[in-house]
């Protein structure tokens, strides 16, 4: 009953959204067309290693525009995960798993608007996630302002190794609104807001919480609602270089509040080299039902360190080398990126030692990009 009502109201929202966009398309203004995204292909080898977890694999993306009207893209992403993280090592044994994800998207341009429809499907032995999104972006005010609306819907299926009787589901909704505004010929800024909503099984069937020192399967709420807002500033500094600064505030109904701040710099060297460097800082406060060792019995309890109070600080750099460039036709670039992050937990302890946990993570990416 509640599900049907929710479905009907969702339909109403989507129809109203669609009606608004179509109305916008017929708005009288001078006839301009937004530009389709450029054709490109990317091959990536990615690796993450930290806290006992290593995840690496290849990824591929190809995008091509058809008849100057539609741009289609397909992606394949693979993660081979080897998990010996602190949770796994202290409560179970190391495991290996492969996750693969396929994505398809189509971009359609009509006058000043760009409509993007995309779908992704991620699969691993005990978790399947399918997502569909619709994004509409409109250029207004002589092309100086871009307004974008987006909607995503996800449906997940959760299973558990060695427990065929366990089967649960999770659903996700995301609503986005963003505005990018050109300030001067050298500076632009953007504000993005997102409302996220999750429903269903939102934890891990393998994770344990600790109550009075004893291990107890974790109990998470079955709903979670969040808001995030991000401010971003990008500017050209005059000597073939640019900088960007961003700040994001996140808050949800599990009482998690987080701040993210990033500062970055990019510069061209000669005709073929491009270098980027950035620093990122993240801090969050714990979920209301999170506890390292719960002293009381509560309805919800979790010892998931992702929900604890912690900070992480990263430094990253990226280098790009243009192998071949024919202006107006194609170019080929070889890129490498590296990021170092230090995680520092304020109320999560390492059971083996009893002291507060912290670890370092390294991300390495090597990729080839081509536009044609």
């Amino acid at each position: 009953m509640a599900a049907t009502k929710a479905a009907i109201s969702l339909w109403r929202r989507l129809l109203a959204l669609f009606g608004g966009i179509v109305g916008g398309l017929f708005a009288v203004g001078h006839v301009r067309a937004a530009d389709l995204p450029e054709n490109k292909a990317e091959t990536l080898f990615h690796s993450y290693s930290g806290g006992g977890v290593t995840a690496l694999g290849p990824a591929l993306l190809v995008r091509k525009s058809i008849m100057d009207k539609v741009s289609v893209s397909g992606t394949y992403y693979m993660d081979a995960v080897s998990n010996a993280s602190i949770d796994v090592v202290t409560t179970a044994s190391k495991y290996h798993e492969v996750r693969s994800e396929f994505g398809l998207s189509a971009d359609y341009v009509y006058r000043d608007s760009q409509i993007t429809l995309s779908a992704t499907s991620s699969h691993e032995p005990d978790y399947t996630a399918n997502t569909g999104s619709l994004d509409i972006s409109q250029e207004v005010f002589g092309g100086m302002t871009t307004v974008a609306l987006g909607f995503s819907r996800g449906a997940d299926k959760v299973l558990k190794h060695n427990s065929p009787e366990f089967s649960d589901a999770a659903r996700h909704w995301q609503y986005r609104l963003g505005v990018t505004q050109i300030l001067t010929p050298r500076w632009l800024m953007s504000v993005n807001g997102e409302a996220l909503s999750d429903d269903g099984f939102l934890g891990s069937p393998y994770r344990f919480a600790r109550v009075f020192g004893a291990a107890v399967p974790e109990r998470n709420p079955r709903t979670r609602s969040a808001r995030a807002v991000k401010f971003r500033l990008v500017g050209d500094l005059g000597s073939r270089d640019s900088m960007h600064a961003e700040y994001r505030y996140y808050r949800d109904t599990w009482a998690i509040k987080s701040h993210t701040a990033e500062l970055g710099y990019s510069r061209y060297f000669g005709q073929a080299w491009l270098a980027d460097a950035y620093a990122r800082y993240y801090s969050q406060t714990k979920a209301v039902f999170y506890s390292d060792n719960a002293p009381t019995e509560t309805v919800y309890v979790s010892r998931n360190r992702q929900l604890s109070t912690y900070t992480d600080a990263s430094l990253g750099a990226k280098l790009s080398y243009t192998l071949k460039k024919v202006p107006g036709q194609y170019d080929l670039k070889l890129n490498g990126a590296y990021e170092f992050t230090h995680f520092s937990f304020k109320d999560f302890t390492d059971i083996r030692t009893g002291s507060l946990y912290g670890y370092n993570a390294n991300i390495v990416q090597v990729f080839l990009t081509a536009t044609y």
Binding site: D35, E38, V140, F141, V147, V326, P327, G328
Partner: protein, 177 residues
């Protein structure tokens, strides 16, 4: 309470600052396009320096059909359009057609490099100070203006998509008659 009543309740709940924000959105959404180039008006005269050559004045082209194409090296559709324009120039230049490519880059060496790579044979004029762009009040990149033998603006094309060059050809032939 049905869903419509619920919706009404929620609409009332949209806060004041939110309403102000959306009113601002409407104001920003108003696009302005004062057409400084009304068809059948005289084309504003200008003098620009030709790449590797002397100055060129628009008024001196009176008697020929002139196509002024505003382009830049950083504009994708402009680069796509250039080979097509070159083809039209080669085809009709003997019949009294002249094509002027006005480049708006800050760095003229980049313009020379890209024009060379694309094999452009029509004159490339350099508008580094954006004086002529302001004069013609360009609202889009690229912009193409077709001027008849009497120096009057006849057609203005904003932007470029594949197939526009067929339109250009039709209009040039019409004006050359």
């Amino acid at each position: 309470m049905n869903s419509f009543q619920r919706l009404q309740r929620q609409a009332a709940g949209v806060s004041g600052p939110m309403r102000v924000a959306f009113a601002a959105l409407i104001a920003l959404a108003a696009t302005t396009a004062p057409a400084a180039l009304a068809p059948a008006s005289a084309a504003p005269d200008f003098t620009l320096h030709v790449m590797d050559g002397p100055n060129l004045r628009l008024k001196e082209q009176r008697g020929r059909v002139v196509m002024v194409n505003f382009w830049a090296t950083w504009c994708g559709p402009c680069r796509q359009e250039m080979p097509q324009l070159n083809r039209l120039y080669e085809k009709y230049k003997a019949s009294g057609f002249v094509l002027l490519g006005v480049n708006v880059d800050d760095d003229q060496r980049k313009a020379a490099e890209v024009a060379g790579k694309l094999g452009v044979t029509f004159p490339v004029l350099l508008d580094t100070d954006k004086v002529v762009s302001k004069l013609y009040d360009l609202s889009t990149m690229p912009s193409t203006v077709i001027i008849d033998r009497d120096g009057k603006v006849r057609y203005v094309h904003r932007g470029y998509l594949t197939g526009y060059e067929d339109n250009y050809e039709k209009q040039i032939r019409e004006l050359l008659k």
